[in-house]
Symmetry: none
Subunit: 402 residues, 2 copies
């Protein structure tokens, strides 16, 4: 969508929109079975919204594209993820509430384990607890590289944020993560001439980090990914002309929401915390992005039954409580598919339903991958088209032309 | 669509194409009911074409976009309405059937009310009746600006059309409408050097209008918006390589057809008049745009039953008479949806069928919003894609590449 058109046409309305994102919702059947996780789950509340709404499957990024969580969420917010690309470092910074300044270069760090030869044996350092991560970040903050301010902050478990602040930095650096075990960490290779000095400074940091962490097995080394800067994008509330709140417990999702200019509300990580936050904020916003994380984690763990059960939890514990608030438009979907059969994000389109008084019901009666194929939104609607449709259903877009 | 490709590939054929536009066709069920207007209507003739044809629903402008009639028709003619935008002045000229010449500058005028200080107190002059508007336009037609021909025509209620005709005019002028009360009308500020003289001439007109209307409270001043020229677009007959005729009774639709270079045939406003015009012109053209207006008006009036009945009239009185002429390709659709439940144009996709000998039938047996979802054209085909498909069905597009 052309944001300029929507900016020109949006109009006020008192209707409230909820975008419920069940992370990694889309799935596949287990081997030799027929039902996907969503189809196997008992979801009377989502099924009712599907029956009273319009359904389909959305493509987050494009045909055959397996999206990361950042691009997948941007697409749901209406930002073409090919045009609006954001580095992992930037997302990590926003996720932990780090106030990234223009010119800062951020990277997502992993603590990892290396052996005596310097080869990586565990890219996630045995998933050390967040407290250990915090203590190690404190140590890394002691590193000094001339001419550069360095900030290291814990994210979660083995993940941390590295920010470099100096004049004339460039984010055009390759990842140092070799993406497999048995190989040593890579050098932070400059991808342009402008990045040569930055690459040198990052190498300095990495060398000192190796030294600093040498006795901290399993977290005895760092890997850096997604060197990036804070982008300068149109803000979600300005594009759509609404007050937008994000209710998400995990840093990544809080980060991407902040990046597009939503108010990121303080909330806990449990669904109950999030529902309480939604209730308390209900009168102050027009749009709510509500994120349910754990379904994706079950998919990534390859755990079909746990994914089914977590979808059921969302259906039973979240959907009715949202509906109790009398929203005018509900969009329920996933950001991408995470089939437990693949134990990974996938390219498969994601079931989506839009429910509102005037959505024009289709014949779909059940919320599931196969049922949604014949929905009114079609089997392959680009995810970026969902926000304009939600806006239209909320009476928030003026007529185009006379 | 890229017109250059079609221009390059079109080829002659003796096959005739009819584009039947049932204005505002798409709808919604009445509250607590299930069938839309089209679904509720008894339409054996359209159903037969749907059963023998290929069906779907089209998006006139884009997801969530509610189209005006002008953009919606442009889309059906294959012109991307985002790319081919028409100024408000030009649209007003089209609407009243004013024959805009190249170089004319048109503006949409509002009669408004100003107070003793010259500040606008009502931007719509108390919505004066159209007859009052016509009388005031007659007075404004008496204004003389040296070197400029001036035309003022009533549109509806407080709205009128102003056209300036002279050498070297430019439409690059800012609106004089301050968009709020309590402020004076703005000057017609030139937005380019080329427009300075035009701005001066418009100021002359406005000053004299103020004087002419001083005793006509509440319509004692004018506001001007959307200065624009007749656009210079590729012509429909050239793009597609066919002789194209428009059979439409209402000024707006005649105007938009003329804008794209169709021959606009003389016809009355009744369906019988239009059918007679079609018959008389049958041998002289390859393509006929046939417009049925009143269905939309019933939708805009929120009258479900009348809309149903007018759809039935079109089915019984128009479709068989078109088929009697043995057309080779029939496209039957609406330009946009006008659900009586909303009493306004809406964003909902519009049912469409394409009937021809080789269209490749789909399983759709009935022409209706829900039935068409599973049609071969899909539930969300961009309206601009319909003309090329109609052309292909008429054997009018060469193979692309070897």
């Amino acid at each position: 969508m052309d944001f300029n058109i929507i900016k020109r046409l949006h109009k006020p309305s008192d209707k409230k929109v909820v975008l419920l994102v069940l992370d990694g919702l889309g799935g596949l059947p287990e081997k030799d079975k027929h039902k996907t996780e969503l189809e196997a789950a008992d979801t009377p509340n989502l099924d009712r919204l599907a029956a009273d709404g319009i359904c389909g499957l959305h493509m987050p990024v494009g045909p055959g594209m397996t999206p990361g969580s950042g691009p997948a969420h941007l697409a749901l917010f209406g930002y073409d993820p090919i045009q609006y690309q954001v580095g992992r470092g930037t997302l990590a910074a926003l996720g932990v509430g780090f106030d990234l300044k223009p010119g800062d270069v951020a990277a997502r760090g992993n603590f990892c384990t290396i052996d005596a030869d310097g080869d990586v044996t565990d890219r996630r350092a045995g998933r050390i607890p967040t407290e250990t991560c915090a203590a190690l970040c404190e140590k890394l903050n002691g590193i000094r590289v001339p001419g550069v301010e360095i900030f290291v902050q814990p994210v979660k478990e083995y993940r941390f944020l590295l920010v470099l602040r100096a004049r004339n930095l460039s984010p055009e650096l390759a990842d140092t993560d070799p993406q497999q075990t048995g190989k040593p960490p890579l050098d932070p290779k400059p991808l342009s001439e402008a990045a040569e000095k930055t690459a040198y400074r990052v190498s300095e940091f990495v060398d000192q980090a190796r030294d600093t962490l040498k006795d901290d097995h399993p977290a005895n080394m760092v890997l850096l990914r997604g060197f990036s800067e804070k982008p300068d994008w149109p803000a979600f509330p300005d594009i759509y002309g609404l007050r937008a709140a994000a209710i998400a417990g995990y840093p990544m999702y809080r980060g991407v929401s902040k990046l597009v200019g939503m108010d990121v509300l303080g909330t806990g990580e449990t669904l109950d915390d999030q529902i309480e936050t939604l209730k308390a904020a209900w009168n102050d916003y027009d749009f709510f992005y509500f994120h349910v994380k754990k379904i994706d984690s079950a998919g990534e763990d390859g755990d079909f039954d746990r994914k089914v059960s977590l979808i059921e939890d969302a259906d039973h514990d979240v959907v009715p409580k949202i509906m109790d608030l009398n929203p005018d438009v509900v969009v329920a979907t996933g950001d991408h598919s995470t089939p437990s059969a693949l134990a990974y994000h996938s390219w498969h389109p994601v079931p989506v339903l839009i429910w509102s008084e005037h959505c024009r019901k289709d014949p779909v009666k059940m919320f599931g991958e196969r049922a949604c194929i014949v929905g009114g939104l079609g089997p392959r609607i680009p995810a970026v088209e969902l926000m304009p449709i939600a806006m239209a259903n909320a009476g928030r877009i003026e007529k185009f032309g006379a």
